[in-house]
């Protein structure tokens, strides 16, 4: 049994800034993110949003030990102000607001946190650099520091003398403590007077940008950077109160050159984000960057770089391709050199096709319908080979490996082993650093040198998929309790997976089975809630329409596929496949267990 390694243990926030910087592998999106633009960074859990934002902070840039760090330091000419938020904080604020029927409490609390982060970033700039090459370090004499905080403190409703940035930061903490005390008193006393006292408190009137301006102006002037820009790096926007989100979206249109906003957000978040479309237009005022890869090959370079880095950190020489080798779905290509194409008589692919045709009459009919004579594949024009044979090769492998024991030959690839090898691995980790690190940690825990056996790879990938699916049981289900057996995140994944499975290894041979879903108008609103969770957890991957890049708006009429991580659980090929309306999937009766799917009586998966 492979040791269980929680996916969550590879959370960027779990690491110190030094650790984040040390292991940082930039995806292509990073080089757009660093530009002096407002950016909305969209990705599911684990896709690296927090890491990317943290790598815009000066200390991280100084500690990044990579040849490309110099370029990043040169191009990042603003001060990054990282303001974290998380589910725990969001829940704190929501509980108070619901308990006291407030709407602006969370906005005030977050504003104080953001101002505190602003002061922290300024303070950091006055300190010694964390690495050999400084980034945005300045000298601030004591007198100038005192003047800044003396001027700003009353504007931030700090009524006691403060003489340093550190004291200013502590005073903001005191504000936060006061806000919490007032809220708790109002909840404890359960009377309107205490609530009104909280509502009337002037801290609730603080606004982020108008409060930040006087501080930034004075700091810039003191260090001789009149045009100095400060970038608020706001993580996990979905946990912020709705009004604050709307204000931040509006700020994305802002033209104040002193401020940039780079904010991260779950795709089609757990809450609707209608403001994006109405208040800011992607490509015009800000850039929308997505961290998912609809086409699997788009994520390969990043996955390869991450794996290479993980190997280096563990002292393993060689390349990812040498470590993982060629996978089950790729082996047909071996025969290219021998036969001029992969399907000539004697090739492994040819053997597979012939083997399956023996047992699978539907497949045999498919070949016959396309006038394919397997004994004369050399005579098939290349275009027909591609259209008829190559496109079904993965399906053939899966169906063959799914044959019942009585029909199985020892020489056949096992179902599990199909899901192994470099490209399958890259596809299945979906360019998600947290998934990749969790799986690589399992793979390399006891590995010393040389390639990793395909069976070991396949087992690690399948265990990871099974555990991640199981964890969906712990995700809050907000739909109709009576439908939880069908519509909870865990069960909906199961429903979609088994649907696709039934079309891949069912009695009928479908050369292009449906593997993607369109959220059509007939899909009930209840389902959308669960779909958003699945998208946010990376279980469903958005496939943008040709002209669209909106990954934050409505789910309606958008197309999704199951993450390839789950492919081995449902015996699915690692390809997009045909689209089908989601409502028709949900309306269809659940498919029978895999053992009863028809010709194929269950395999060894």
């Amino acid at each position: 049994v492979t040791d269980f390694v929680p996916f969550g243990s590879f959370n960027a926030r779990a690491s110190s800034l030094g650790q984040v910087a040390h292991g940082f592998v930039p995806p292509d999106q990073y080089w757009t993110l660093i530009e002096s633009l407002h950016v909305l960074l969209v990705g599911p859990r684990g896709s690296g949003k927090t890491t990317l934002l943290r790598m815009l902070q000066s200390p991280a840039l100084e500690m990044w030990d990579d040849p490309r760090a110099a370029e990043a330091r040169d191009r990042i000419n603003y001060t990054g102000v990282f303001v974290p938020a998380d589910r725990s904080w969001g829940a704190q604020v929501r509980q108070i607001e619901q308990s006291l029927h407030l709407t602006d409490f969370g906005v005030a609390a977050f504003t104080l946190h953001a101002l505190r982060a602003l002061v922290t970033a300024a303070l950091e700039r006055t300190r010694a650099p964390r690495g050999d090459v400084p980034h945005k370090r300045v000298a601030l004499d004591r007198g100038a520091e005192e003047r800044i905080v003396r001027d700003v403190a009353p504007l931030w409703l700090i009524n006691r003398p403060v003489g340093s940035l550190e004291a200013l930061r502590l005073a903001l903490s005191d504000h936060l403590a006061l806000l919490g005390r007032l809220a708790r008193r109002a909840m404890r006393m359960r009377d309107e007077v205490a609530r009104e006292e909280l509502l009337a408190h002037e801290l609730l009137d603080l606004e982020l940008l108008s409060s930040a301006v006087p501080f930034v102006e004075r700091f810039n002037a003191a260090v001789g950077e009149d045009e100095g820009t400060w970038a608020f790096l706001l993580d996990e926007l979905e946990f912020l109160p709705q009004r604050l989100r709307a204000e931040i979206y509006a700020a994305l249109r802002g033209s104040d050159r002193r401020f940039l906003f780079k904010v991260s957000l779950a795709p089609h978040g757990e809450v609707e984000q209608p403001e994006v479309e109405s208040s800011a237009v992607s490509g015009h005022d800000f850039r929308l960057l997505t961290l998912t890869y609809a086409e699997k090959e788009q994520g390969y370079p990043f996955a390869e770089a991450l794996l290479q880095r993980a190997m280096r950190d563990r002292g393993l020489s060689g390349t990812p391709k040498e470590l993982l080798g060629i996978g089950g779905f790729e082996r047909e290509a071996d025969s290219w050199s021998e036969h001029g194409h992969a399907y000539g008589p004697g090739s492994s692919a040819h053997r597979s096709f012939a083997d399956l045709a023996t047992y699978d009459s539907e497949f045999a009919h498919y070949l016959a319908d396309h006038n394919i004579d397997l004994s004369h594949t050399d005579e098939i024009p290349p275009s027909q080979r591609a259209a008829v044979l190559r496109k079904v090769a993965p399906l053939v492998s899966i169906r063959l490996a799914s044959l019942s024991k009585g029909q199985r030959r020892r020489s056949r690839k096992s179902l599990a082993e199909l899901y192994s090898g470099t490209h399958s691995f890259f596809a299945m980790v979906e360019g998600n650093p947290r998934w990749l690190k969790a799986i690589v940690t399992r793979l390399l825990a006891t590995h010393e040198s040389g390639p990793i056996a395909r069976s070991v790879q396949a087992r690690a990938l399948e265990e990871a998929a099974r555990e991640y699916r199981s964890h969906l049981r712990s995700v809050e289900y907000e739909g109709d309790i009576h439908l939880a057996g069908e519509q909870s995140p865990h069960m909906l994944l199961e429903r979609l997976g088994t649907f696709c499975q039934s079309r891949v290894i069912g009695r009928k041979f479908e050369p292009e089975p449906p593997l993607t879903f369109i959220v059509d108008d007939a899909v009930a609103d209840d389902i959308l809630v669960t779909l958003r969770v699945l998208v946010n957890f990376g279980v469903l991957v958005h496939i943008p329409q040709p002209q669209g890049d909106d990954a934050t708006g409505s789910l309606r009429n958008e197309r999704f596929r199951l993450a390839y991580l789950f492919a081995p659980l449902y015996r699915l090929p690692l390809r997009l496949g045909r689209a089908v309306n989601l409502s028709s999937v949900l309306a269809a009766p659940p498919p029978p267990p895999v053992e009863q799917l028809g010709l194929l009586e269950g395999g060894d998966g």
Binding site: Q92, I96, Q98, R184
Partner: protein, 324 residues
């Protein structure tokens, strides 16, 4: 504000509960499991006795329990979670009002209470105005061993157990550190950790007298502490005061470097201890619950014949000493 003073409660056999164990007020749940009345059956009648029912899942032993509490003269009401919260605060006030000239003794059987109810009781105790001395015995009748139920299809609630236990953070840069009590529900703890996304996890593992339970706990959480979590801390199921001491020490340590979030799964007594610890550190410590609510199949749990618990004193002018 009142000051909370936890103290040990000596474990004993249910059958040994005697006249000396009488309370001014006794509160328990009228639920579907047989053990809901196990402690009440053995206790002398309190001046104020209340058994509060649930609006749903009135099945299994519910009717028998209701008949028992009716015959025993208990105040009986059916309250949902929102109704219970203000009710218990008022009930406690009314009990305190009758204790003139002597410290008020209250017994609370948490065995069949939901975590929401336990939270409401602990909050009510912590929020008493301290105008009278109060001794609360939180009692627990452990269940005889039974196999874990299959996992529910979904989680209906995962979040702060109440606004009082939501916590309050002054520095979001500090890491969120989950202190997780695990049970024998397969991968439930791992899934909850995945959902909460703490930066670090400390795992508390129950040690019971039944080796089958320990084995199932280990199986359900294979390797949870192998990597990504710090070394597991064990706690004795039958000694909540020792558990409290260990949890309080862990929480105090976490408070020095992060934001603690207590996530009690497994035995209910650990949830109680979490809430008492959070009340001691209020408002810095959050307590969350993970519940499948009505999706969880009701099980008619029977008491194993023992009772243990945790005493909490509430003093007007106490000096609080370190627990450890």
């Amino acid at each position: 504000m009142a000051l909370l003073l936890p103290a040990p409660y000596a474990p004993r056999a249910l059958s040994s509960l005697a006249a000396g164990d009488a309370y001014d007020g006794f509160l328990c749940s009228l639920g579907f499991e047989r053990r809901a009345r196990s402690i009440a059956e053995h206790l002398p009648r309190a001046t104020h006795s209340a058994a509060i029912g649930f609006p749903s899942q009135q099945t299994l032993s519910y009717a028998e329990n209701a008949a028992f509490f009716a015959a025993a003269g208990f105040e009986r009401q059916t309250l949902d979670a929102h109704e219970f919260h203000p009710w218990v605060a008022e009930w406690l006030r009314s009990v305190l009002a009758t204790c003139v000239g002597h410290p008020c003794r209250v017994g609370v059987d948490v065995s069949s209470m939901t975590r929401l109810r336990i939270a409401a009781v602990v909050e009510a105790v912590a929020q008493t105005d301290g105008s009278a001395d109060l001794e609360v015995d939180f009692l627990y009748a452990p269940e005889a061993y039974h196999e874990p139920s299959p996992p529910a299809d979904a989680t209906l609630t995962i979040g702060p157990v109440s606004s009082y236990f939501a916590g309050w953070s002054l520095d979001l840069e500090l890491p969120l550190i989950a202190i997780v009590g695990v049970g024998y529900e397969l991968e439930k703890a791992a899934g909850a950790i995945e959902y909460v996304e703490p930066q670090e996890t400390v795992v508390f593992v129950p040690e019971g007298r039944d080796s089958r339970f320990s084995l199932k706990v280990a199986e359900a959480n294979v390797g949870l502490w192998a990597e990504g979590a710090t070394s597991p801390v064990t706690y004795p199921l039958n000694d909540p005061f020792v558990t409290l001491a260990r949890l309080d020490a862990a929480t105090a340590g976490v408070l020095r470097r992060g934001r603690p979030l207590l996530l009690p799964m497994g035995p209910k007594i650990f949830a109680l201890v979490c809430m008492v610890v959070a009340a001691l550190h209020e408002p810095d410590v959050a307590v969350w619950r993970v519940s499948a609510g009505e999706l969880e199949r009701p099980v008619d749990r029977h008491a194993d014949g023992t009772v243990f618990g945790l005493s909490v004193g509430v003093r007007r002018d106490a000096v609080v000493l370190p627990i450890t």
